[in-house]
């Protein structure tokens, strides 16, 4: 398991994950800087990502879409805030509309990537932060929470049916 540490801060709404790889910092940076390699890991296997724009310089932008098993495209974008190859990358990650343009109504997260080469291994840590509590709430509403509430409702219904 490459993941060595995970920290979540419920007040600051940040999640920090640290991993160790058996490769040099330059090679790890390539995972971000080469769009063809980035495409191999950014999206889950069932939703592969295609980057159509990719400028990792400060102020630069990247644009991508992920394709669902049914062929539906979900667009996303990055706005690069800081880039210091091969050590540091900071960008805002958001959703796009059907044409791939940033959707201002949708929540964004800020990712800060730090890469440090040590003895025979390279550490990469990613801090992911919600823009605000409202944006976090939006993300929750879009997914997990719905499933959890439904599951709880089913348990309750099941137990109520049995008990009374």
């Amino acid at each position: 398991m490459p993941v060595t540490d995970v920290n979540k801060d419920l007040d600051a709404l940040t999640m920090e994950i640290t991993a160790e790889f058996g490769a040099g910092a330059e090679r790890v940076w390539e995972m971000w800087s080469d769009p063809r390699q980035l495409e191999r890991w950014w999206g889950p296997p069932s939703y592969p990502a295609t980057f159509v724009d990719h400028d990792l310089s400060p102020g630069g932008r990247a644009a991508y879409f992920m394709t669902s098993p049914e062929g539906q495209k979900y667009h996303g974008w990055w706005r690069i805030e800081e880039a210091e190859p091969p050590r540091r990358l900071r960008f805002e990650d958001g959703f796009g509309d059907e044409e791939g343009k940033p959707n201002e109504e949708m929540p964004t997260t800020i990712a800060t990537v730090t890469i440090a080469e040590g003895d025979g291994a390279t550490t990469m840590s990613i801090e992911s932060r919600f823009g605000s509590r409202e944006e976090m709430e939006q993300v929750v509403e879009m997914g997990v929470e719905q499933g959890m509430v439904e599951a709880l409702g089913q348990i309750d219904a099941l137990l109520a049916g049995e008990g009374t």
């Binding site: 995970v6 994950i17 890991w41 109520a160």
Partner: protein, 117 residues
């Protein structure tokens, strides 16, 4: 792929949750709390059981993180815990699983390098 420690923590949480909801009085208290804030003494008037028994039920629901208790003046107020904290947990867990997947995929690609050379 979740670490063992987290799995057992999840299991413990599930035990508490199922245990708490396995009792009809507690399910009723939880439903009422979801509909709005309740005082423990008002709750006690709703059921043919003692105030102490109601407090025990509320404590079980509290441990399962289904409700939280707050003191307002002399009253103990029960509130359903479907609120910010729980939602923040869910959101950060979601970020974690998303990045765990990405890190595993990066690791697999880096491992392929070694195979090639």
């Amino acid at each position: 792929m979740v670490a063992d420690k987290e799995e057992s923590r999840d299991e413990k949480a599930a035990d508490l949750l199922f245990g708490a909801l396995a009792d009809p009085t507690r399910r009723d208290i939880f439903r009422r709390a979801q509909a709005g804030r309740l005082s423990v003494s008002a709750l006690a008037r709703e059921y043919p059981i003692s105030l102490a028994a109601v407090q025990k039920h509320v404590a079980v629901l509290e441990r399962a993180e289904l409700v939280s208790k707050h003191r307002v003046g002399r009253e103990s107020i029960v509130r359903a815990e479907t609120d910010a904290l729980k939602r923040a947990h869910a959101a950060l867990d979601r970020l974690e699983s998303e990045w765990r997947g990405r890190i595993e995929r990066i690791d697999r690609i880096l491992d392929e390098d070694k195979g090639d050379s």
